[in-house]
């Protein structure tokens, strides 16, 4: 099988010894079909065991291994070496504090997920004994692709609004709220709306669509945000301009 030497520049930072991050150069023999994660694993195994990054599934579903690769947010298990020429620059995800090397501090994202109440708030509670809620394939399709988010945070690293306004709930959290709002079994939209509509960021979002472009799972958070904004505007109109029709 074909092997070639691949050059990587990897950001290194250990808060216990480094004043600031720096780049370290590695040269590692790689197989043609490898992804960037395989190259990092080869470095860790045979060249430098002190390099740190998160990964687990190697099949683009656990969402652990997001990083900036040549300046773009990517899953390193899905960034094929054949797509790169020259030195590959690897950095931690943008817009998050660096914990160590390629590991970022994810607290802010995790908090935001929780704030949007991302769970079913039943419209009509139903005992288990009564069986499943009926949901037609068409009803399922309304929200299904918004439920595919693997929480990889790539969209936050791409989002210009999150960079400016860290309080912004951000693409994935809002999409998740929207996913439950669209679920025929759910009746919690109003509760979630209180969180989302008061969020500064939604209104500032300029819909450049960077989030959807980088999303590895075709979740299309930009579309979710757009729909949320339209729906929120309609709410506002109903409440403020058309009092008679509020019911």
């Amino acid at each position: 099988m074909n092997e070639r030497m691949v050059q990587l520049e990897v950001l290194r930072y250990d808060p216990q010894v480094d004043d600031e991050p720096h780049f370290q150069h590695y040269e590692v023999p790689c197989k043609e079909e490898w992804v960037v994660l395989d190259a990092l694993n080869a470095i860790k195994e045979s060249i430098d065991p002190t390099l740190n990054y998160r990964w687990s599934c190697h099949m683009a579903v656990c969402g652990s291994c997001g990083m900036m690769i040549n300046g773009e947010p990517r899953l390193s298990c899905h960034a094929f070496l054949r797509g790169f020429a020259g030195v590959i620059r690897v950095e931690p995800l943008a817009h998050f504090p660096i914990e160590r090397d390629l590991v970022t501090v994810a607290d802010d994202f995790i908090d935001k997920l929780k704030r949007v109440k991302p769970y079913l708030i039943p419209g009509e509670p139903r005992p288990i004994g009564a069986g499943e809620y009926l949901q037609t394939p068409a009803q399922l399709m309304k929200y299904r692709h918004f439920s595919m988010c693997i929480n990889c945070m790539l969209c936050y690293a791409a989002c210009p609004q999150y960079a400016l306004q860290p309080l912004f709930l951000g693409p994935a959290a809002i999409t998740l709220a929207h996913r439950y709002n669209l679920d025929s079994r759910d009746g919690g939209r109003e509760q979630r709306q209180q969180v989302i509509a008061t969020d500064e960021g939604v209104w500032e979002c300029s819909f450049v669509g960077a989030c959807s472009e980088v999303c590895p799972k075709a979740v299309d958070p930009a579309a979710a945000l757009q729909q949320v904004k339209v729906a929120s505007t309609l709410d506002w109109f109903r409440e403020h301009l058309l009092p008679g029709s509020a019911t």
Binding site: P49, V61, E99, R100, Y119
Partner: protein, 585 residues
Amino acid sequence: METIVADVAIVGAGGAGLRAAIALAEADPKLRIALISKVYPMRSHTCAAEGGAAGVIKPGDSLDMHFDDTVSGGDWLSDQDCVEYFVKEAPGELLQLEHWGCPWNREADGSVAVRSFGGMKKQRTWFAADKSGFHILHTLFQTSLRFPSIVRFDEYYVLDLLLDEGRCRGLTAMEMRSGLIRQFNAGAVIVAGGGAGRMFPFTTNGAIKTGDGMALAYRAGVPLKDMEFVQYHPTGLPNTGSLLTEACRGEGGVLLNRNGRRYLQDYGMGPETEPGKPQLKTMELGPRDRLSQAYWHELQKGNTVSTRWGECVLLDMRHLGERKINERLPLVRELAISYLGVDIVTDPVPVRPVVHYMMGGIATDTRAATPLPGLFAAGECACVSLNGANRLGSNSLVELLVFGKRAAGSAIEYIRDLPAAGTAALTARAQESQARIRELFSRTDGIESMSGLRREMTDTMEKNVGIYRDQAGLQQAVDTLGQLRRRYRKVMLSDRSNVFNTDLFQVLELGCMLDCAEALTVGALARRESRGAHQRLDWAKRDDDHYLRHSMVHYRGSGAPRVDYQDVVITRSPPGLRDYSGGHQ
């Protein structure tokens, strides 16, 4: 050392750990629950499960049939009281997930859809496209956010269990961000640490599946049960080991050898069925152990296809058509295209068996209790004896739910009248645990490298403890693993930082895997028969007279482990013949 006090501490936030946490929180909002995981919950390997989860729901199916499939699939090594409990609880648990929002696939009338799965006589596998585990995990994680009493400790690595006067009373864990060790005092501990496939070089298991949970319990004196039963999944991608779900065959995909022959018919699973019209419990829908063994025989006969990734057979799904493939198997198509460059719509995809699942694990009973008071276990790390000698696909996701919940119930019962713990004793144990880590950091005479030892372990497992085994190979593996465990005491850390030190965690994980691998191999050497996933070339027959029993491997520190046996519980199905001939035999 900071001490955190909880009523119940849970190790692991995958499907089993999350289900247990929610059950505890629902039962009593005042319970203090500590949910501890070395990765954020949604990174747990449950996310990788593709195919689905089995539970009887459709007319024409019955709990008895699910029972029979599970018991015969497990080659009669399942405890039948456990299977009875499981099949009864399964549908309710899957419905519960539905009520929590899980996006199960639907029939046109809005009811839940089910699909075919290997070894199951009826269609009873609930699925969410081919991302079932992902949706189950996220549904559970998101639902858990409703409960303020579930306090999460994300990215905490659990080091040791704390015992006092014969009870499990807590644990120690390292906050990965700071390197600080915390003591958790808890009335009860539930271990839900997942599997251990990383003992092998070629596996569908993610990097985190290193048997930590099993090793925690084993070192605390709980036996590991039936460890020799390792499931090979017959259809892994030959380069990365990524899984192509059994649903590929459930939807009608067929397996071909180099001559284009559907070779399964030559191994007691024929006659051939029409392509695209799969028949339950025969040919491609036979059980995993049989399919993986058939590959091995084809390899010996020179019937496999040589590819740049090694010897393979072909999984052909072309006849399903692009539409069905996109609707039912989108992830499979995506995986094969991106990692292998093969589009399943236009070409057959090369596959080979890959280490997938541990049937064995921490010895538990149907209450999810271990023999150690105060310690419970659920999920893949546990061996509750549902799966016997071979797990049926789509039983495991349900096992997480049924026994995660059961562990919670048993823990609540247990802590009700629990006498107070001797806190001084626990603190002393915690300090010993901390000293173990300190010693690793301050070690100056280390000569062994983590990656070197790990490679020797995985090579040994692959070479000697694979699909077919024999006395000589197993003996060699036992010897090598014993040596590796001794050499491990001289392993040297390369990284001494306190902040997110993955070198340290890999060293600790390796220690866990070595202990598990030794237990597995000792169990395999002692079992002189062939049953389910444990196949001996030198003992080719099932031997119910001697081995209708669970092997129990006991930890003995630096010495070799000790094996004894426990009877299988038979309630109504005496050992019989496993028939996958589609009724033709």
